[in-house]
Point group: C2
């Protein structure tokens, strides 16, 4: 077997096994060193290839796809800084537990650290930000090395998927000539094991009877418990948690990324306007729990996080099937490493029905008062960020997926997007909360979910403008709302806003960009709306449209701050009035 | 001293000492965690702040600035993926020996690895791709800790600058409240040492008399030596190396990034058309050297690299003041760790005048034949990439700096940009040869050098489109020539070009973008030229223009390949004819 045949057989075995293990999509950035992998992947009939020139966008595109499909997406790039461009999305995938398989082509050993072109140290390139790194062997065609290639492929997929899911990095040293031999037939087949070389059965974490009983005993003693659900991505979680809540009669604090605010599950325990009412001190005292059980990431709400700190004496269970330590307030009393759905289901028979619903009713009542008061946001005839997020539930069609930009939009979704029985999935990059790669993440998710919506600010839109090209090249449908307040709106809410001498330059950072030409360059339609009527009508038009539609909503940072403050003040007064028994 | 005062004093001491150590520019990307550093930097009268929202572009902007000024540029960003976006430019800076000071803000220890928002592991974030990493202490206001902050600042600058120059990473854990106290006066002053806390004297590597004499003895024995200069950035190198060549009568292979093809030094030994004539086997045999002395990075030319491999038996000295191992062909016999200018200057008195100039004349003659034959490129009336690079010397004004994109443009500069007595500096990102960040690098360099030109392909232009915003926000003058062959032109020159089944999809990767709207969004002027006349006239117009001018030269990948091949075939025939003594 010559070099070219060995190269071909080795890479083909690896690729074939990826597909046996469940991989369906690969995002390829063009390059020379990665030639054999790219060409062999293109040969496989069961692999969808997406080509993306900008590796930073490519990696976020893959992230969005993997997050939406819950299946590992493969990334492939050439050697050098191409691979470094993946880093932001890899860090995000690692923190937000998204399965990615990152394949980088590299120079062979004799061309490393000797000034060869387009070569840099790629061994452990992403440090601790990947779950597993493997430096592949040089391609060889022996039966043993083909088994090795297949075993690594199977393990890599399983490792990316096992809880906590995350990125895996495989670095391939490749020698010239790089063009594979695609003339021989059946390069992907291993005759003795046609259904794949190795299958990996992944168990899930479960507590034993004693562990469960001890937790159940403690919960049975508490009538005023609180269930808290941050970002979690588990298809059957909504049912499991609502059944648990029904037995315990605990209210559920439901972060928008818990996916509990939309759907056809039971809503009676679900509380979603806490980000507003927990800003009121009277409410905070009124609603003190005697136990907390948390699932998923920390909720987005700062008001909720302060509420937890005020209840630091309360036992706090944190259930994490990914065995992390998601507790920035350091308030955990019991860390529970158990699959979240498994936990709910096995605990349920051990719990007594809580007959005391007073605490639940307090939370429900507060939630109702708050939502009624927040209705006032609709009285604002002009366009405002707060009203937009309030109305999103109405605007979005059933079955929509909404990707939300970081900084203000995700906080506004938290504050204003309320329970509904539509089937709406909310997504965001909340691993590291970056403003990078959001367009690409939404487009990647848009290859899986339709219809797909994205709402984000102008700086976030600018940061990943390049990402829009995927919509053009792959005809991905995406409707985007850009809240253009010409700069970093969130900083107006932070203490530096009261230090005007450097504020606008360092934090406001207006870009003064008219995005219309860029959107049209990428084949999208663009409309800038200035009234609520225009917004709703533009929004309705996007429902019928294919491809990329961008609606720009111009807002003002100072007005936005004032609107939020006025609204919170108003609601707070309503709450206090109500708690004092006034009508 | 309260938290805020300690924070202020600590950061101000650090910043003040950076400036004492020579820092003049900082590129800031907006964020919350970095607030105290950004605000204190903005307070310092001697620091120029450049704000850049996209951290990937920001880092390349800083790289271009540092490369042009030979002075460390500071980068500042907030925590999270912001810092990961710096990675491509950091890897490039590390390989191309450019001094950068990367400052990342981080959560304090109690908020690390506990799911806090916008937090990720930033300790050793860039792995081996920085020269030095330091995890700073929490800010403290004691005299000892202010000394610590100042010492780190001084060391960081000196480390970034010492040979080989490169990036240094400082990670700052910062606790809330983050707003510094700017009300107190003289936060930057340390009364007892007003001129800076610590000064670092950096020596340069020099050989001792015995080492020099032994090298001189060997060179004195060789009449047919070859000096090879790849990328090198040393202000007095041109004079030192041409004096060495004059004594040894060795021809100098001058890569465009050696800066030896332009200037007012002696040109008699400088050979620059070797990338063409070394493609001819007769020339290769005719020009075999008996010793090689190399300086700087490996030259760009593949033909030259193959020539070296054909002369593997020849002693090869590699002089590297940065103590690297820049020898991808693994042909070095003597690695010489000595400052390059120091080496030339101290060796000179020990060398005998070489009286035998026959070898030099062979190279000179071959160079003349080749350049005369390449003159034919001008006969092509239509626009072609080869003719454009051939004419660049004429088009560029004296004093211009030309930044060159990777992939084909830098190779075409190598092939077609010939000796001239203008003062033209040629720059490129040849550390890892990436197509990323090239616009930003040129704009960063454009803050130092004027007039500034950039020539690059369409994929490279697309990759860093976001970078254009710096031209808009900071009114940086830049004239850009985009060679738009709608895809990856270099792949047509590689073996995969003969495998049409996946070629256009995986390697050609046409984007079908009209860049005009994007350029106008960033406030630039755009012209698409289709004749040589239009190109020269557009080029002349840019001379008078301020701000951003983009000239798009549409070309065809297949025609470009054919033109290059025809030209090389023609020149090769001319060379062989000449060597056979035909007239």
């Amino acid at each position: 077997m010559n070099h070219q045949q060995a190269l071909t057989k080795y890479i083909a075995s690896f690729v074939a096994e990826l597909i046996h293990a469940g991989v369906k999509d690969v995002v390829v950035s063009p390059g020379s060193r990665s030639t054999p992998i790219a060409m062999i992947m293109a040969e496989h009939p069961d692999l969808r290839l997406h080509i993306h020139v900008d590796e930073r966008s490519a990696a976020f595109f893959a992230l969005g796809m993997a997050k939406a499909s819950r299946n590992p997406t493969v990334l492939l790039c050439t050697s050098g800084t191409a691979a470094a461009n993946y880093f932001p999305a890899i860090a995000e995938a690692n923190l937000s537990r998204v399965p990615l398989l990152v394949i980088t082509a590299d120079r062979p050993h004799e061309l490393r650290d000797v000034g060869a072109p387009q070569a840099m140290d790629q061994v452990n390139l992403y440090g601790k930000h990947v779950k597993w790194f493997i430096e592949m062997s040089h391609p060889e065609g022996s039966k043993e090395m083909l088994r090795y290639a297949r075993t690594v492929a199977g393990r890599a997929v399983a490792t990316a998927l096992s809880s906590p899911a995350g990125p895996v990095h495989l670095n391939f040293p490749l020698r010239e000539p790089l063009v594979p031999d695609l003339t021989s037939e059946n390069i992907f087949i291993m005759p003795e094991r046609e259904k794949g070389y190795v299958h990996i059965e992944q168990g899930r974490l479960a507590l034993n009877e004693n562990q469960l009983r001890s937790i159940a005993n403690e919960l049975n003693e508490h009538k005023n418990g609180l269930i808290v659900c941050g970002e979690i991505d588990h298809p059957t979680f909504a049912n499991a948690i609502t059944m648990l809540a029904a037995k315990l009669q605990y209210p559920i604090i439901a972060d928008p990324l818990s996916q509990l605010r939309s759907g056809n599950h039971e809503f009676v325990h679900i509380i979603e306007s806490y980000d507003t009412f927990l800003r009121n001190d009277d409410a905070v005292s009124h609603l003190a729990p005697d136990v907390i059980i948390r699932f998923g990431a920390m909720p987005i709400s700062k008001a909720f996080s302060l509420f937890m700190k005020k209840n630091e004496q309360v036992p706090q269970f944190v259930v994490d099937g990914g065995e992390g330590w998601r507790d920035p307030s350091l308030l955990t009393t019991n860390m529970v490493y158990c699959d979240e759905v498994e936990f709910c289901e096995s605990l349920l028979p051990l719990l007594k029905e809580n007959q005391d619903t007073l605490f639940l009713e307090k939370w429900q009542q507060m939630n109702e008062i708050t939502k009624a008061a927040l209705f006032r946001v609709k009285e604002n005839e002009s366009l405002s960020e707060s009203r937009l997020f309030y109305e999103l539930v109405e605007l979005l069609p059933d079955g929509a997926t909404l990707f939300v930009g970081n900084s203000m939009p995700i906080r506004d979704v938290d504050t204003f997007f309320f329970n509904n029985q539509k089937s709406i999935r909310i997504m965001a990059n909340r691993g590291a909360n970056g403003i990078d790669g959001v367009i690409s993440s939404a487009l990647g998710a848009g290859t899986v979910h339709k219809p797909m919506y994205l709402v984000l600010g102008d700086l976030t839109f600018f940061h990943d403008l390049n990402g829009l090209i995927a919509s053009k090249l792959y005809h991905i449908d995406l409707s985007v709302i850009v809240l253009n307040n010409n700069g970093g709106g969130i900083f107006s809410f932070l203490p530096q806003a009261s230090h005007p001498q450097h504020f606008e330059r360092l934090f406001g950072t207006p870009l003064d960009l008219d995005f219309e030409p860029a959107v049209s360059m990428y084949g999208g339609t663009f409309s800038r709306v200035s009234t609520w009527m225009e917004l709703t009508s533009s929004f309705e038009q996007t429902l019928a449209k294919e491809g990329l539609s961008v609606i720009e909503v111009p807002t003002k940072r100072d007005e936005n701050l004032q609107e939020h403050r006025n609204l919170w003040d108003y609601v707070s007064r309503e709450i206090s009035r109500n708690l004092r028994g006034e009508s």
